[in-house]
Amino acid sequence: MKKAQIYHYILAIILIVFFLGPVIYIIFSSFKPSSELFSASPTFFPRSFTLDSYVEAFKKGNFLTYIGNSFIVAISSTALAVVINTMSGYALAKFKFKGDAFIMMIILSTIMLPLEVIMVPIFSVLKTLGMYNSLLALIIPAAATPTGIFLMRQYLVTIPDDIIQSARIDGASEWKIFTRIIVPNAKPAIATLAIFSFMWRWNDYIWPLIAISSPKKYTLQLAIANMSGQYGSDYSSILATSAISMIPMLVVFLVFQKQFVQGTVNSGMKG
């Protein structure tokens, strides 16, 4: 092995410690008994393993409700996002129509309006529509993402017009063309969009913060953020809940690594 290569390995391993160490530490901590959690000289590895923190977390509050809410929001918002963003991407990729440039401009301009900028008036819009404090407020608005439309449009442009035209000549309806030809051909882009959308919704904090008030409707992130107590038994359930909240993303990541890389490369997806 060349000298330079040895340095590369050493550096790569130091970086692993930096990026992975903190996550492992929090997971180990969630298995420590509280006597050890609040010891004056904590160790990286637990001296004894216990599930106390998890039992505590399950007993306290509506832990399962929060997880359920997070899954409902992430899955239904993602399903909706895939359907409507693919539809829009198709319209913009394969049709010429009056105002297409204008519509493109509107979609572009929405990128400039991140939620953080409009969170105050969004609150009043949700109130007026009667959507305040309902999971629908987390599912529907978040499903329309400008980056999702762009991703789909860029991908669908590459589908040859011939297949669409010949289907039209065969008398297929537009909706049938969309579901039978466009959607199956767009699978890789749809997978990327679905994975990113799931991650955005699962990890979301600002939307639930603005739209939800009653603890029964909390998502996991909102629930964790609202768990109080720097010290004491509360902290052990915070650790356990945090550890559990990372599992779905870990699974999704391990299965769909390729799509993550692809989605990141494509224009820096932002939800």
Partner: protein
């Protein structure tokens, strides 16, 4: 014959409507939840609307904006945000580029390294805050144990404004570097190998290769990363929630948190908070416009 013509006409009409139908759901959501709120926000910013009196308020002209310029807390939060951007962006920029260059070297288990560095990207900002709070904070933190073992005095860590401020930088860098690493990695891999081979024949050393081939070739990626990170750091808030909660004594309070609290938890002045949002929007718009123009220049 006439019938056919009519049906052709009907068909053409239908074809004209179809793209709009496909666009309708998205445009509806955009209009109601993005464009409409943006205009309402602009309108609110000229009023004294309060969270508890959303129906009765009066138009007060530019008063909110005038007040902003003498609001020490807001200016402090805005200044703090700008400082955070100025410090954090270069760190992420350099580290993600450097790690991307490492990850494209011929290493065994390259994929595993890449996946590990990317992993924090997928952890929610709230949990990132919890992780670093747990490591850095208080007397039970791993950090304090570690430095006392090294012979240093135990630190007051997150109670110290400076320490707290840098802990936010650390948490942002830790959780976002992997993302930008991937963008740089893709750009690095698209540089033609022949460029390097040719430069080797000319006797170029490593530094020269970086300076004259790698760095210029990354132009588009550099601009994209630079703007994306800047916009992202500008909106910093969720990562702060469980790490420092904006403290100690507002040392880590940034613009978004200040806006949120003004509208929803301290004075409930929705109108005033809206004027702050407009200032934030101004910054974001400048950045987006810069991104747009610079990226056009970057694709040459």
């Amino acid at each position: 014959m006439k019938n056919e013509k009519q049906s052709l006409k009907a068909y053409k009409m239908k074809q004209k409507i179809i793209p709009y139908l496909f666009l309708t759901p998205n445009l509806l959501i955009f209009s109601i939840f993005i464009i409409l709120p943006a205009f309402i926000g602009l309108y609110y910013s000229f009023t004294d609307v309060n969270l508890f009196h959303m129906d009765e308020f009066s138009f007060i002209g530019l008063q909110n904006y005038i007040r902003l310029f003498s609001d020490k807390e807001f200016l402090a939060a805005l200044g703090n945000t700008v400082l955070l951007v100025v410090v954090t962006v270069p760190i992420i920029f350099v580290s993600s580029m450097a790690i991307a260059m490492l990850i494209i070297q011929p290493l065994k288990a390259k994929g595993a390294f890449r996946a590990t560095y990317y992993w924090p990207v997928m952890i929610s900002a709230i949990v990132v805050g919890i992780i670093w709070n747990w490591i850095l904070g208080g007397q039970f933190g791993l950090f304090n144990t570690f430095i006392t073992k090294l012979g240093f005095a135990s630190s007051d860590t997150l109670i110290n404004p400076n320490f707290a401020w840098w802990s936010i930088v650390l948490a942002i860098v830790w959780s976002r570097t992997g993302y930008y690493m991937i963008i740089f990695m893709a750009a690095l891999l698209s540089i033609p190998e022949t460029l390097y081979e040719a430069s080797e024949m000319d006797g170029a050393n490593k530094i020269q290769k970086f300076r004259f081939i790698t760095y210029p070739s990354l132009r588009a990626a550099r601009l994209m990363v630079f703007i994306l990170v800047t916009m992202e750091v500008f909106k910093t808030y969720p990562i702060v929630v469980k790490l420092t909660a904006g403290g100690p004594s507002n040392a880590t309070t940034y613009t978004v948190q200040y806006i949120y609290e003004t509208a929803f938890s301290t004075t409930y002045e929705v109108g005033y908070a809206s004027s702050m949002s407009m200032i934030l929007l101004l910054f974001v718009t400048i950045l987006t416009a810069a991104n747009f123009f610079l990226n056009k220049g970057g694709t040459d």
